[in-house]
């Protein structure tokens, strides 16, 4: 048993590599040779991990991946336990379908990061692409649990169809954030793009900076929501999430909507007063 299993990319990839299913919990029971023999796909071409990566360590719940990972997709996808550390920017679907454990991307993540997550923590130190924490195309729900913490910004359609869980973004998020949320929480400390929370049933969108609230949301009051204070405190203590004390206390304007649906969703806008 090693402290960690380390995969070092040998050379620049010729095509997109799908690493979905290569998870720390899977490597925890495998020897070095067994890990090297795991099958991955470069486009439609079958390969083994050993063909592409130098493999060090064995039988560990900590998996590290390093190299130029721009074209590596699905890193940490399906993780159920353990910790995966990704050194560098990744491709699409990082941490997709996670049910537990931690995936820590020391860089940016491409589109569809944390897609349909059900548990665990996906941490992205850089920016995330479109559809962060979103749903698999055609699915009726997106995230059903877990936490996504992004220290940069995120693209369009973050937390789409979210059912449960938390998506926290230190920067801004693009348009159509929280579309069709059933429940759960999307937090954005930076500006929120246009048309947030469309079709939201019971979801919460917390906006720490500018946001244009859709016409289908109605102002309820200006107050100090205790759960925002709790959430931000938790994020600060566990992840050193960069939110200042003013955001904890508020006050926030509470808008209820989307009136075109159940209408029990909310957009909380920090007033900064």
């Amino acid at each position: 048993m090693s402290d960690a299993v380390v995969l070092s990319l040998r050379a620049r990839l010729e095509g997109p590599l799908d690493m979905g299913g290569i998870t720390p919990d899977r490597c925890a029971t495998l020897s070095r040779s067994e890990i090297a023999a795991l099958v991955v796909w470069i486009g439609a071409t079958r390969a083994t991990l050993g063909d592409l990566f130098a493999v060090r360590g064995e039988r560990s719940l900590r998996l590290e991946v390093e190299g130029d990972l721009h074209d590596v997709h699905g890193l940490g996808a399906g993780t159920a336990a353990g910790e995966m550390v990704v050194r560098g920017d990744t491709g699409r679907e990082a941490g997709a379908g996670m049910t537990g454990g931690v995936v820590h991307v020391h860089g940016g993540a491409g589109d569809d990061a944390g897609q349909a997550m059900a548990g665990g923590v996906l941490r992205v130190d850089g920016h995330a692409g479109d559809r962060l924490g979103g749903a698999v195309p055609g699915a009726s729900k997106g995230m059903t649990g877990g936490e996504i913490v992004v220290f940069g910004g995120a693209g369009a359609s973050a937390a789409t169809m979210m059912r449960r869980g938390v998506v926290a973004v230190a920067g801004g998020v693009g348009p159509f954030a929280g579309r069709g949320m059933v429940a759960g929480t999307l937090l954005a400390l930076g500006p929120v793009g246009e048309q947030p929370g469309l079709g939201s049933k019971r979801g919460s969108i917390i906006a720490g900076a500018g946001v244009t609230v859709p016409a289908t949301y109605r102002l309820a009051c200006t107050y100090e929501p205790p759960h925002v204070r709790l959430l931000l405190t938790s994020l600060r203590r566990r992840f050193a999430f960069p939110c200042d004390a003013g955001l904890l206390s508020g006050p926030y304007d509470r808008y209820c909507g989307d009136a075109g649906d159940v209408g029990k969703g909310e957009i909380l806008v920090w007033t900064g007063r």
């Binding site: 429940a183 929480t185 929501p225 205790p226 759960h227 204070r229 709790l230 004390a245």
Partner: protein
Amino acid sequence: MFIEDTFAEAFGMRAARVVITARTMKWARAAALKLTGFATSVIACKCEAAIERELTPEETPDSRPGVSALVFTMDSDSLGKRLTERIGQTVLTCPTASCFDGLPEAPDRLPAARALRTFGDRFQISKVVNGERYWRVPVMEGECLLQETFGMQKKGVGGGNFLILAEDVDSALAAAEAAVDAIDGTPGVILPFPGGVVRSGSKVGARGYKGMIASTNDAYCPTLRPLTTTALPDGVNSVLEIVLDGLSPDAIRGAMRAGIDAACRRGVRAISAGNYGGKLGPHHFHLREIMGAAS
């Protein structure tokens, strides 16, 4: 100072730690005082409770000033019911107050606040933060935030005690207050009686009334010295008792040691303890053993 060669006899209890936060310490304390009100003895109050200590914003889950309180009962069902009743009537009602579990590591969980969500009349909202569920209950002031489940310590201890045998009431009070000050703030320990002190120590049953669960401890009543089999040394004219509940036997031991040490002062003739012959409670805290451990 004479330490009698005897022991305090204590019982196993279920315990929970409730952390109450509020906008200011004033309101956190106000809620905690009500939460722990009328909770001196399980005999008539159904639970024993008191404030454990005040918490800084750095120590609370929501970065606000807070107070932790301990609640003890004789069984698990009762603990859940008492928490539901008391949180519902004291924290839910108190301006700006929120309520959190103070024993997050305890594997046994009581869904004490789940029933309180219905006060929200289907306007309540559930939030999960770091794997724990909280309920946002809309109230006229804004929102009340309640953690759904509370950890239960199954190995709590209730009824740790020691008796201060003094020359007069002034000396007894001064010694008792010193003991309370020394114990106050000890993690995992509360003193559920008024000011932490009991003047009406009891014995099991009664000699004159059938059906009484407890009656006055006549052996330690100075006014009855010639009328009963007294346990009082000469010169003792007032006795006060310190009763302790704790999350563990070790917590009780440490607090008793600090309290007895502080109570040993001018005007105190002896320190004793209450027991029932060792047949009722599984925990025996021998005074000389405890004080010997101090040296």
